[in-house]
């Protein structure tokens, strides 16, 4: 087990290094940061001096090595645009993204599971067909379109909810700002969470539905019915419980992609999180922020996969045996 964990850890570090290298090579093609840092009147000599001072004339591998050495000490440099340490910038934007992601995941579960159960139990009812039709929209429409549609429908035409931003936030210590404690903060969360969580909701609903249909056909459900148990006990106590194992696995894996894909939702709603900062950084060629963000997301996925791998080992002895052999 320990050997397996260590091997996985080494692989994880390798993955992070590769992600960092690939992103560094890509930065060659995103444009010239210096042009975004100075006014139009700035002389070519001053521009050249700035490029030299930022180390942009060095070979990619040298720049990469410097970045990795500093990153290992959790120093990601200073943002070109904001002139603040990148680590502090990311820390200040992290709460917004995490709150949005967790509320979205909660929304996806709280709505997706009951809808899945319902459509599984009553596959022929008109409501089930309606749910399935809605879920088709969820999987087929791109996130930014859903966001814009919601803004125009709910904010512009109905005027019910704010069209952008995070509302009023409260600092609850450790630099963590939360919008969960104010009315405007909660109102602001609704539309972005739905936008971000719609795809996951659809996924969970379809998953639960499929599993329910499967489980309801099994013998032990028939026996439970024969024993005269109540429908409620059969559907939720026996059937649903057995469908939840894959749902939990998928949800865990999806949390990573919710955080990563928050970029689009954050842009559409001007949500001041990491994703929005990343997109601003891409537009202004703010390499320190881009590098740190990509590394952070890679770290997130690597960590989640690492934990999932360990859990699988704990659950499934076959993997353990395979690991001991190889």
């Amino acid at each position: 087990m320990l050997a397996f964990a260590i091997r996985r850890l080494v692989q994880a570090i390798g993955v992070m290094l590769v992600v960092a290298l690939i992103s560094f090579i890509m930065f060659r093609f995103v444009g010239d940061p210096v042009n975004q840092l100075v006014g139009v009147d700035t002389s070519p000599e001053d521009r050249a001096a700035l490029r030299e001072a930022l180390g942009l004339n060095d070979p990619v591998l040298l720049q990469f090595g410097r970045f990795i050495l500093r990153a290992a000490q959790l120093d990601f440099g200073i943002s070109y645009q904001f002139k603040q340490p990148v680590a502090a910038l990311i820390a200040s934007r992290l709460p917004a993204t995490l709150e949005l992601s967790l509320v979205s995941a909660f929304f996806a579960l709280a709505v997706g599971v009951p809808m899945g159960v319902f459509t599984g139990l009553y596959p022929r009812s008109w409501a089930s067909r309606a749910f399935l039709a809605i879920s088709l929209i969820g999987v087929s429409l791109p996130t930014f379109l859903i966001g814009i549609l919601l803004i125009f429908l709910v904010s512009v035409n109905l005027g019910w909810l704010p069209s952008f931003g995070r509302g009023a936030v409260v600092d609850i210590g450790f630099g963590w700002t939360t919008g969960l404690l104010t009315t405007s903060g909660l109102q602001s969360l609704i539309l972005p969470s739905i936008t971000l969580g719609l795809f996951q909701m659809t996924l969970i609903m379809r998953l639960v539905r499929g599993e329910m249909l499967e489980v309801l056909r099994t013998d032990y459900i028939k026996f439970a019915r024969a024993r005269g148990l109540s429908r409620r006990a059969i559907n939720f106590g026996h059937a649903l419980k057995n469908t939840l194992v894959p749902v939990i696995t998928i949800t865990g894996l999806q949390v990573g992609s919710i955080i990563a894909f928050a970029i689009i939702t954050e842009t559409v709603f001007q949500w001041p999180g990491m994703g929005l900062m990343f997109l601003q950084a891409v537009q202004s060629v703010d390499i320190p922020i881009m590098a740190a963000y990509l590394l952070l997301i890679a770290f997130l996925f690597v960590t989640i996969n690492f934990i999932v791998d360990l859990l699988y080992v704990a659950v499934d002895p076959r993997i353990r045996l395979g690991g001991a052999r190889g």
Partner: protein, 537 residues
């Protein structure tokens, strides 16, 4: 949510007279706290006013800081922190400072602060070095008089001083901010995010990229023309979101409104678009430096070295069609590379007429009866409808046989390719230019001065147009203090450029701001958003 629902219902029911009356009654009672919520497409970053020479940031700082001069609603130079100034002799200027002016921290504004600001703005890490000559000598004669000694006459010395903001010497020394924050600073202190100006507003809080809150400066020396108690600035990058925020009533003022959304903003009973010409002039330029165009099928020679070929391309472009179709009426075609507002002599110039037949003849006479192929570079997120202008150009040039391969890319990549660091790698390009000094000399040098490989001479003359006579004129213009003589020389220079078709001037693009109807604000053609002329009714 219910409270919000109610206010929006009231705001929305402009069609129903009764409810509308109630709404205005409610708005009227809230006259004590007038907040202007403003959204712009870009962000406000570090707050050091010498870090970035860019209109939007400088305009924002203009609410907090003040220069020795100011510009009024019509962009005319008026006294700012200097009450008056005189030319003692062509090389000596004397500025009499306003008395009783205080910085927002309570310090007095004196001549020592001006001398300090002059040193700071010339520092190597400043991006506003062009504001004053590097070799000028600044002396405080007394607490409220400053003398400036120049090494050569400069009639436009103070033209850009409305955005060269005076900083407090004591404050800067206490904060460790005696040098401007530069992009290469690895450890900018907290002073980069503090302000201490003499202007009508102060910055109460600033989260870069998220939100900035301005409050009126109670100790300001002037008489406020605004009625604001607070300004909240939020950057909203996505066009759709910015327009939606205005329509939903979540912000009061947005800059810019995409031209295709202007009818929508005007159709809403509570919002309207404000449009007007901007000073920026969009033009096309030709590579006239290389002996062969890399992107062309013409080998062994460069067709753009022939003025007649350049004129043919000029005459093939239907500028009115671009105005009507691409810009939806919101552009002002210009004959020169400078805005009509910025050079009084521009009324004496006209564009080469649109005439595809004449263009074909010019091409045939130049030896290209079947036209030729050339590549074009164009940004797609820098100017209003920039990519669409280039596409229209491509189809218009196709009619005279010139096949253009368009390469439109985001500004970050575009500028990396076409400017000096990319080796001016372009044969045909679209560029916009606003002379920061409001003066033609800036245009003549930056866009049309002879340059070398590194850009020395004319850094934004991407195509390398070169005429020694014009360079000589520019050198005389910069030191000529007699306005009439100076204007005559500028006219001469522009005549040379027009005759040789050095570039193709296209148009001044339009500003388009969107606002709630209860907001009054002044829209200057330089696109600075100045809260001190804003009212929320």
């Amino acid at each position: 949510m219910i409270a919000r629902f109610r206010t929006n219902c009231l705001a929305m029911s402009g069609r129903k007279a009764l409810l509308a009356a109630t709404a205005s009654l409610l708005l009227g009672t809230a006259a004590q706290a007038e907040t202007l919520r403003f959204a712009f497409q870009g962000t406000l970053n570090a707050l050091d006013p010498y870090t970035l020479n860019e209109t939007f940031s400088l305009g924002m700082f203009g609410n907090v800081y003040e220069g020795l001069t100011k510009r009024d609603k019509d962009l005319q130079i008026i006294p700012g922190l200097a009450e008056s100034w005189e030319l003692v002799d062509p090389l000596t200027w004397r500025f009499n400072l306003r008395k009783g002016v205080k910085f927002s921290n309570g310090n007095d504004f004196t001549a020592a602060d001006v001398v300090f600001s002059a040193e700071r703005v010339r520092d190597a890490s400043s991006d506003l070095k062009t504001r004053i000559p590097a070799d000028s000598v600044w002396t405080a004669i007394d607490d409220h008089t400053v003398e400036v000694k120049l090494t050569s006459p400069n009639p436009i010395l103070h033209y850009e001083w409305d955005t060269w903001y005076m900083m407090d010497k004591e404050w800067a020394e206490a904060e460790g901010a005696t040098k401007p924050i530069s992009a290469k600073d690895t450890n900018p202190g907290p002073a980069a995010f503090k302000t201490n100006g003499t202007g009508p507003f102060t910055i109460e809080s600033h989260e870069p990229g998220v939100k900035t809150v301005f409050k009126p400066n109670a100790g300001w020396w002037g008489t406020p023309e605004h009625n604001l108690t607070e300004v909240v600035f939020t950057p909203i990058a996505a066009d759709g979101t910015r327009v939606a925020a205005l329509l939903a009533g979540d912000v009061d003022l947005i800059d810019p409104v995409p031209v295709q959304d202007i009818p929508r903003v005007n159709a809403d009973p509570n919002t309207e678009a404000m449009t007007g010409p901007e000073l920026r002039v969009i033009h096309l330029g030709f590579n006239q430096m290389d002996d062969e165009l890399a992107s062309s099928d013409v080998k062994g020679k460069n067709p753009f070295k022939d003025p007649n070929v350049r004129k043919a391309l000029y005459q093939a472009i239907d500028i009115e069609a671009i105005k009507e179709r691409v810009m939806r009426g919101l552009s002002t075609p210009v004959p020169l590379l400078i805005a009509n507002e910025q050079f009084s002599g521009s009324k004496n110039f006209t564009r080469w007429p649109y005439d595809p037949e004449a263009a074909k003849k010019l091409l045939a006479d130049a030896g290209y009866p079947d036209g030729f192929t050339v590549g074009m570079d164009c940004p797609n997120d820098r100017y209003v409808n920039d990519e669409a202008i280039c596409q229209a150009t491509v189809s218009m040039l196709a009619r005279i046989g010139v096949k253009v391969n368009l390469n439109a890319q985001p500004k970050a990549q575009y500028f990396a390719k076409v400017l000096a660091p990319g080796g001016y790698d372009t044969d045909f390009y679209l560029l916009g230019w606003t002379p920061g000094s409001f003066d033609s000399w800036n245009v003549l040098v930056n866009l049309a001065g002879c340059r070398d490989e590194t850009g020395k001479g004319g850094p934004f003359n991407l195509g390398g147009y070169c005429n020694k006579d014009m360079d000589a004129l520019a050198a005389k213009i910069v030191v000529e203090t007699d306005t009439a003589k100076r204007d005559a020389m500028i006219t001469e220079a522009y005549t040379i450029m027009t005759q040789e078709t050095s570039h193709i001037p296209l148009h001044q693009q339009s500003l388009a701001w969107g606002k709630r109807k209860n907001v009054e604000i002044v829209q200057r053609p330089d696109n600075q958003v100045l809260f001190y002329w804003a009212k929320v009714n």
